[in-house]
Symmetry: C2
Subunit: 516 residues, 2 copies
Amino acid sequence: MASNKIAVPKGTRDFSPAEMAKRNYIFDTIKTIFRKYGYQEIQTPSMENLETLTGKYGEEGDKLIFKILDSGEFLEKTTTIAELQELLEMTYETLEQQAIIENELKKSETNSIEIPKLTLQELENFTLLQTAYRTNVINYVKEYLTSKNLLRQISEKALRYDLTVPFARYVVSHQSEITFPFKRFQVQPVWRADRPQKGRYREFYQCDADVVGSDSLLNEAEFILIYDEALSNFGLKDFTIKINNRKILLGIAEIIGKPELIVDMTIAIDKLDKIGMEGVNKELLERGFTEGDLQKLTPIILLKGSNDDKLSALKEVLQSSEIGLKGIEELDTVFTYLKNVPLKTAKLELDITLARGLNYYTGAIFEVKTNEVAIGSIGGGGRYDDLTGMFGLKNLTGAGISFGADRIYDVLEELKLFPEDATQGTQVLICCFDREFENYGFRLVNQLREKKIRAELYPPGAKIKKQLDYANNKKIPYTIVIGSEEMQSGLLSLKNMQTGEQQKLPVDAILEKLLA
Amino acid sequence: MASNKIAVPKGTRDFSPAEMAKRNYIFDTIKTIFRKYGYQEIQTPSMENLETLTGKYGEEGDKLIFKILDSGEFLEKTTTIAELQELLEMTYETLEQQAIIENELKKSETNSIEIPKLTLQELENFTLLQTAYRTNVINYVKEYLTSKNLLRQISEKALRYDLTVPFARYVVSHQSEITFPFKRFQVQPVWRADRPQKGRYREFYQCDADVVGSDSLLNEAEFILIYDEALSNFGLKDFTIKINNRKILLGIAEIIGKPELIVDMTIAIDKLDKIGMEGVNKELLERGFTEGDLQKLTPIILLKGSNDDKLSALKEVLQSSEIGLKGIEELDTVFTYLKNVPLKTAKLELDITLARGLNYYTGAIFEVKTNEVAIGSIGGGGRYDDLTGMFGLKNLTGAGISFGADRIYDVLEELKLFPEDATQGTQVLICCFDREFENYGFRLVNQLREKKIRAELYPPGAKIKKQLDYANNKKIPYTIVIGSEEMQSGLLSLKNMQTGEQQKLPVDAILEKLLA
């Protein structure tokens, strides 16, 4: 396909100047806030060793990891070829050990110790054997190629699937240089070989902040403040930060007497929004809960009122569960911290049905949703007690959050919240009537730049209309047209491209106006 | 290897908070200047379709492209397996068509129309044939696997090798939306399966600005200003921007009467710095030039004096070469523009021996070197007349430059030029003597953040020494320690961690001091 030559791979995107300006606005806003809260940026390589990534995302996740062929030309590597050759030799040897051909040949020998004779039938048999032999080779090669051995032979590296596992790897790699608690943020692309669809990409940015080495619940309180500040700064007026605690979910499963069904329970109640209480109950019954269990569960799930009301009710319900009470205490502590620092915009809501990736989190769980646009969650996170355990560093507790930058982009676009000045490129375009003014124009454009004004001189020689079209297309708010009159008088005409208003001003006054 | 689990792949790097702060300083400085000159950021996907990249970097370059396995689990794709099976069947058929075995078997048949008999010798032959057969299969499979067919089967995508080809692809993809001249910059990682060594990485950032759709030499003049401004801002005191023009090189080859040896000529004279005039002459003779040619060439190569002196001398030498004179005129125009806008720091030097990737550039060529640190070029670029031609869009002239961010990093590090404030993380750490002060501390830290001060509250409960160590390790310049006295008096003690100086101040005074 010729068109393929100028197409990007499925599920990936080009970002135009206008899109990049908006994306940068989102990332810069979030990064500034992360930094204000003491989080520092790190970056890890796009590729990790395959063994760093595999086994961390479940079987389905592993399949979505993009693997990289070794050194581009893996098959010219002698080791691989030698390996393949050895394998094929082995195949033959195996088959020979099975003595398929030899046995058959021997059969004809057994009748005579002398020169073996093959009958026509035997020759036909030999052809059949040849076919069997061939099929065996094919199967063996096929099996070999599909085995993980070959995959490891031809691919030792893969593109990162998220920022969390590389972060855990980073902490373990650099533990001796790191001062704990380690507060890091990371804004980098990740890759997933997922089936592309609307809003789901094969390359997308993640935007994470994590702290490891601190069990203080102040971290949880600060994450809520970070969400509140970032989304308020974006101009969102109505959004909810949902919070829950895995210990409370454990406590609930305990008091029902089915702690082993904790995962089933949370999977079912997590769907309350989508399938309603009836649907949840149906699923709970299917998953091994009894009608009696439901009678205990339903009132907990349907708890209403303020966060304090819910906590009080839960304290009653979970009084016999140590871990449940611990979860309540943790949430209570977070709420108490926040009473000292009121949220700007966010609603903070204790949501008992909030589960998220349960096998991962051990304490608080967060999820953020805007109530202005129907779109999934625009942020999430929680506390995990053993993230670095997978790389051999035990007992390092941490907590983290993530912003869904692509969704935030769509929300700000739909609500027209991208501020003009933050996404503004060039501020003024200088146009020359004729080439003879180009040196004057060149001096002027650099005079403006000297004052940190983003300015361009349109390459002289083009018609003024073309130059003004350029300004309009690039959404440059001001133009200055230079002709002989302007050069002589030193009065330049500054045109506001939106209003059409024109003013004759000396350079100093123009500078002042543009810097205002 | 267990250690592999926490190691990054060869040739890739983790960037710590301290390193990231410095890298961000470099990128932010360059990006700000690009924007001031009207360049706008774009991003292209990390992966491109294989056919977008292959054939663009020469045979050696193609080998260094990192290819990505399709969808992670390519070998489970039925098409690939079916294809492989078909191939193996084909191999056998081919071999059978060659009738290696059949012929041999037939040989034994020719002696008898009846039942074929195999002698012991014939049986031995058969075993030999079997071996030949086996070897053929192995070779065939090997060949198949190395052929581009399989590579295309298992890999349709690759990581970008540079930013230039994806940019050309972008321009062609988006030509209908783009307003020309299109001034774009791009700062993204690229990947090369090169043998890693000191200063050469498999993943590194490129930092490019290009303009396409404008033949104005103002662009060349502005690129020189951009280099000058960026490197001056970094605090470099002594650096040279070398400039040449490919048309001048063509002209020189023309007046010698060997235009067909232009590539040989430039390869040889490009080495003047390294091997001296004698070495260059030796190489020129080897490459097909005569002693007579050298007599014409040497004085041109050794031209001394100001840029204007060199241009005058060249005008004399190249008077009979139309293209040579065009090159001189182009350089002259660039120098004339720059007489209106003096350079801040850079030396601009016309260097006749400067060649760079000749098959690529058609006009100006740039290279930037610092004279303070012995390191290769820290920037380069030039004009090309047909970049997008490779994707079918003809006659779109352009010019571009690139900054070598990794080398600039090393230079700034060696010269200790990273400014402290630009790489400063958290500005103040609040430490509590005891947990009872944590709510006070939490209010205070958020009060500071409200004023855009980057502030942290150390999770209360730890010893003060540990908290101050944290500040020192993170290079936080100020700390505030809170005890009962401070809480009661409202006078907080602000400590300068570098001087050890301590001041008792009310919050407002602290804010003022930190905001100063």
